[in-house]
């Protein structure tokens, strides 16, 4: 680099001397290695896009096979309360309901706790407490979900059963899976919210203190609303995570589609069902096999919808400070 600039300067000097020598070549030099690297990086980016396209295509194709099947009625698919592909019962409600229930329980845990942790970390914690708490939370996020699943089954469920009674809480139940899923999602929500809170400019807080607000008032009435877009995004990412979470519900929530609103009874979520069915020996041509792609497509649409909503929210509620 320096060599090049030197030569440029030298030739410039020569020009200034007025000597009418040959003009400098200002055209871009060809750099093959640079091109190669650029191409490689582009290929990496393109690969991820192509993968996504491929997944959507495959999901759509197999799901179309399912919806085109004469045994499948689109109306019944969305309103039926029984899912048992073996006997041609295709109502997605029990699976959808279980997914929504576990996610709701999870968010019930993760949102309040996550916000509290985030507010504590960004506003109250001493640097020392922060330096301990934050890595610990991140460890929580790094535990494999299968471990969480067995934690739910062997710790959370017995605990719920000893609190509410053996006969009320079934061994597999959505509440236990949801609670543990809440713990899983907690670090995600807390760290994203904390980032949002920390990004609020100091001047806002100082202005609030200047007007006589207490620390709590400042946090709740000034900082929190100012960070709302980031916090809303955190919540929605958390929900997507809960909807897509598989291992915990597969282990702890139950192994049979069951349309129930009682969180202490067993029910199977969409992801749990896909895992259980694809683990067996479905032949590729069967409608059962295609049906799991239809469920997959539903899941994909749900998370896609959530992502779009989250982007809207981020744009809508974004507060811009200089």
């Amino acid at each position: 680099m320096t060599n090049q600039t030197n030569t440029i300067i030298q030739s410039y000097m020569k020009m200034r001397k007025g000597a009418a020598e040959k003009p400098i070549d200002l055209r871009k030099r060809p750099r093959p290695a640079e091109k190669l690297i650029q191409g490689f990086l582009f290929a990496c980016g393109a690969l991820s896009i192509l993968t996504t396209l491929g997944i959507v295509y495959e999901l759509g194709k197999e799901a179309m096979l399912f919806f085109r099947n004469p045994d499948v009625n689109l109306f019944e698919f969305f309103t039926g309360t029984k899912w048992q592909p073996q006997i041609l019962e295709f109502g997605i409600l029990p699976l959808l309901n279980a997914t929504l229930m576990t996610s709701a329980v999870a968010m019930l845990i993760a949102i309040p706790l996550g916000f509290s942790v985030a507010i504590y970390l960004s506003e109250y914690a001493s640097p020392k407490a922060r330096s301990i708490l934050k890595p610990t939370l991140e460890v929580l996020a790094g535990i494999p979900t299968v471990v969480y699943g067995y934690f739910a089954l062997t710790f959370m469920t017995p605990m719920l059963r000893s609190i509410f009674g053996q006969n009320i809480v079934q061994i597999y139940n959505t509440a236990s899976a949801g609670l543990v899923m809440g713990i899983l999602i907690l670090p995600l929500i807390s760290s994203m919210s904390e980032d949002a809170l920390s990004a609020v400019p100091r001047s806002l807080r100082e202005a609030a203190y200047g007007l006589g607000a207490t620390k709590l008032e400042t946090v709740l009435k000034i900082v929190f609303p100012a960070a709302l877009s980031g916090i809303a995004a955190a919540v929605i990412v958390g929900i997507s995570r809960a909807v897509g979470e598989t291992m915990i519900v597969a282990i702890a929530a139950g192994a049979g589609p069951n349309f129930t609103f009682n969180p202490f009874r067993s029910a199977e979520t969409m992801t749990g069902h896909i895992v259980r069915i694809s683990g067996g020996d479905l032949s590729y041509a069967s409608i059962d096999y295609n049906s799991i792609f239809a469920i997959g497509l539903m899941l994909f649409l749900i998370t896609l919808g959530l992502n779009i909503v989250s982007q809207r929210i981020v744009r809508r509620f974004r507060e811009v400070y200089e």
Binding site: L36, I171, D281
Partner: protein, 363 residues
């Protein structure tokens, strides 16, 4: 300078990619074939099927082998196998019920000197046949029911002719939690009710408590499910799949935990699995017959079923280790089977299986 390092980097990356691409298959090449010298022994094997009952062991090893006290069942029609003299791999897949038995036999085969690799995948009877017939990947299919006609057809269209070997008998255990004190015996009709329309136990029998039944069943892909449906619902799976509160899982542990979890739960699986969990669960008698060795073998217990392994004559000839393994299996299965948790097949059934082996190899 920078340009040079970029070039270096990219060549390095390219080399790394190439290496990873080519490396993995290369590393899988099995490195063990020291026994080429003994191979001829194997190929000479064809034993004249008709005159074999005198169990004259084969060719070179004869002087030593004849003295050996043969298996305890005493009725083996098959030539003695020396596992150490064979090599190569044996690939089996299929029923999760037969799995522990095959695993046990495979372990013994290896303990007695077999140096090759034996793969046993526990994927369910149907999947086992799919791999054996459709994909033609496996040498042996483990099955907890006889092969279906359409499976046989798909085998034949792939040039495979499945040969059946009976290896034992399994009994389905109908289990409830050991905390359950009200059920001891069910009739087949009551059992069908309990796994279909009955909402509470009182619907099964008025003397039972009016508590909802929690049902646990092996998944629809398992041979155990097929067998249960066949025996209890006359092969119509609609009632059981329509039952409320039913949980289906291929993982027997899920079932054990579920049944154990409530006195009002009921489930079923292979007797072997019950024995492993006998302290936590309780079996029910069916039609007044409790499941045990005699009632299963005699067929008196209504929910007993045969266990099989399937192979193909061509494979057994091309891969002598497969023929030897099946031979070994049939010869020693009765010494191991009770320990694994199943019951021996009848003597006649074993004779038929051994004859099938002789026919397959002798052709």
């Amino acid at each position: 300078m920078t340009r040079k390092s970029y070039a270096w980097l990219s060549t390095l990356i390219m080399i790394a990619i190439l290496l990873t691409a080519c490396g993995s298959p290369a590393s899988q090449i099995p490195s063990q074939e020291p026994q080429t010298t003994q191979a001829p022994v194997q190929t000479e094997e064809p034993v004249p099927a008709t005159q074999s009952p005198s169990q004259e062991p084969q060719t070179t090893q004869a002087p030593v082998q004849t003295e050996e006290p043969v298996n305890t069942t005493g009725t083996s029609l098959l030539p003695e196998v020396d596992p150490a003299s064979v090599s190569g791999n044996i690939i089996t897949a299929g029923s999760s019920t037969v799995f522990p038995l095959s695993e046990r036999i495979a372990e013994r085969f290896q303990e007695e000197g077999f140096t090759g690799e034996i793969t046993i995948d526990s994927i369910g009877t149907g999947a086992g046949f799919e791999r054996f017939c459709v994909n033609a990947e496996t040498d042996i299919a483990n099955a907890s029911r006889p092969i279906k006609d359409e499976e046989r057809t798909s085998c034949q269209s792939n040039g495979r002719e499945p040969v059946e070997f009976r290896v034992g008998t399994d009994a389905l255990a109908i289990v409830v939690s050991s905390e359950n004190s009200f059920v001891e015996n069910l009739t087949l009709e009551q059992l069908a009710l309990a796994f279909s329309t009955a909402k509470t136990w009182a619907d099964v029998d008025p003397s039972f408590p009016a508590e909802p039944i929690q049902r646990f069943s092996p998944g629809t892909d398992s041979g155990t499910f097929d067998y249960f449906v066949e025996a209890v619902f006359d092969t119509d799976e609609t009632p059981i799949l329509n039952a409320e509160n039913i949980q289906l899982s291929e993982d027997d542990n899920v079932l054990v935990q579920g049944v154990e979890g409530s006195p009002y739960a009921i489930g079923y699986f292979g007797f072997a699995y019950y024995q492993e969990n006998a302290d936590r669960l309780k079996t029910l008698s069916i039609e007044g017959v409790s499941p045990n060795a005699e009632t299963a073998e005699s067929g008196e217990y209504p929910l007993s079923r045969p266990l099989f392994i399937y192979s193909d004559a061509t494979i057994m000839k091309q891969k002598p280790q497969v023929a030897d393994f099946v031979d070994f299996y049939l010869t020693y299965v009765n010494e191991e089977i009770l320990d694994v948790g199943y019951f021996p097949a009848s003597e006649e059934a074993m004779k038929v299986a051994m004859q099938a082996w002789l026919d397959a190899v002798g052709e």
